[in-house]
Symmetry: C2
Amino acid sequence: MLGNFTFCNPTRLYFGKGAVEHLKEELPKYGKNVLLVYGGGSIKKNGIYDAVTQILKECGKTVTEDAGVMPNPTVEKLYEGVQRARQSKADLILAVGGGSVCDYAKAVSVSVHCDEDPWDKYFIRFEEPTCPIVPVACVLTMVGTGSEMNGGSVITNYEQKLKIGHVFGTQVFPKFSVLDPTYTFTLPKYQMISGIYDIFNHICEQYFSGTDDNTSDYLSEGLMRSVIHSSRIAVKDPADYEARSNIMWTATWALNTLVAMGKDTDWEVHMLGQAVGAHTDATHGMTLAAVSMAYYRHILPYGLARFRRFAVNVWDVDPAGKTDEQIAREGLAAMESWMKELGLVMHLKELGVNEGMLDGLVKSTLVMQGGYKVLTEGEIRAIFEESL
Amino acid sequence: MLGNFTFCNPTRLYFGKGAVEHLKEELPKYGKNVLLVYGGGSIKKNGIYDAVTQILKECGKTVTEDAGVMPNPTVEKLYEGVQRARQSKADLILAVGGGSVCDYAKAVSVSVHCDEDPWDKYFIRFEEPTCPIVPVACVLTMVGTGSEMNGGSVITNYEQKLKIGHVFGTQVFPKFSVLDPTYTFTLPKYQMISGIYDIFNHICEQYFSGTDDNTSDYLSEGLMRSVIHSSRIAVKDPADYEARSNIMWTATWALNTLVAMGKDTDWEVHMLGQAVGAHTDATHGMTLAAVSMAYYRHILPYGLARFRRFAVNVWDVDPAGKTDEQIAREGLAAMESWMKELGLVMHLKELGVNEGMLDGLVKSTLVMQGGYKVLTEGEIRAIFEESL
């Protein structure tokens, strides 16, 4: 049954080849000082940096750069960005990059005018901002996190061995995002497939919960079928515009709150994966891929009807003459084949995890309440062991 | 291939039983004068009028009523509403009703401060508003049109025998809408199933176009499966909250621009149906139902691959050992069975159309360019004849 909810997603999206030109319409709506946030500098090699800074210049903006946002943005980097935003009196934070850059921009946006320690306030105590928020906009260069149209922000504190995500309200959503599929063409294959699995798992996290039959789950099935279809094309031809554009668009809708409306959600795979990320700095999507099969096989008996439906509606498993459990397990086997076909990391050892790290991983894993099984410490350990 | 597009849908939705209470948060954001728009008065019998006016009173609003909005709102009624909004200096137009009431409220909202004839400007010349727009909000009591989260507005001019829809930009979208599934429970079955077919056909109009494979079409398939599933429950038990809530939510997403993103759309069934509406005042969804099967069987050869996909992905037709055309026709047959199962009107004669009206119907039918076949006058006549 669809529970009560409020839906509002005001982010304006400009989608398609050449969409960066829309910056010329949007930038005049904001003040003069722009904090330009980006990552390791790949945007300087593929021309995106030049395209964006040229338009910023044309629009008469004073630009302060905040480069070097890492794949797992750290709390130290956050403190540094806040200082830079304060010094430059930023009127707009323009994130050019993937989910990490956009996540980081949002964390800065709610911290610039905040008197408290943002790590404690937002990521430990999960409080909402009570200060003015600097508007954020995004030019996306890597897909997966959906950060371009949501309030999500994940920050890592290596000292505390914690990687924590806060989902902020609509006031923190990017005001607008530019989604040009060709901006993702130069991404290395490892990052591309990692993003694809991140998308797929976002949908799984919202789909594998509840026993009823609601519109959100039908939408999830459509999104999953779309990403499976397009990923098989993209992995062979990364410059296939149709496949890359569908993947980009699916990513946005996989995590902009739509398919979670009116239902419980799980997110335990993300908790397991984020624990791995906090201990290894491995690529986010790969941490999810490495723990997923052990996790889903573990919880299958507790959500059998949904895993059966997943097999039939998403993977076209023929149910004739099979038990529900056989059908459900065939669905997971089909998912595993697809993951291997893409070339995803299927074992934690490939991400630098060894047996000696298990205690730490278990300790760093948050336990969620919305899925088919609330994991015990023993179960978490077993899942990590099976994923090694 | 996903074409270039801009997506933005800022409407805030409050969904679920008791959602009307959210009016208390929203109403204080607007000025004192509220134009309360509703239809034939059924909201006075089922308690919705009392619930809404009580909250308006609590919020200290000065309310002017504009009742009697008909199922196909007329241009004369529009002129009357504009006068009433001007006289009452409306700060907010609150539509309490179904799509007709909400459509009408939007037409009034763009006309209050407009110096030209709104019929000519918006419905004949399809211009965008250049004047200030009075904000619109909606308390939905009947689902189908999606008007609660889009810019659509359909007005009928009986003198000119024209029923025309204008899809306005985001500035005309309702600021917020209240969606309480229990508000739809008292609706007569005829209206309920008419709304259900309207939803389904909205999805069809956006799905039956193009030859590529994109995310919008996968989302459409999910929405169609959801509405088919829930309609079968609702038609047996109209008070099934789960089914009615899914139908309500599906209706919103069937026509809030999402599943049209990046692709061509058809809308010819709506043109055929609206011609019938302009000549008979028949219920909108029933006019669509009566012409659909003849239309889709007519265009099937021009969009065979998509009709085949529709059969397999939406109606679970087993393709083994069949030609594409057999599969496609089996899909349409499954759709026809479902329509009959719901009790939809399958023949125009039941809506008061006779052979003598065919010339007029053909003349009133606009020809769209986005579907699989641009209809000739002869084809339009043949479709109406087969639908009699």
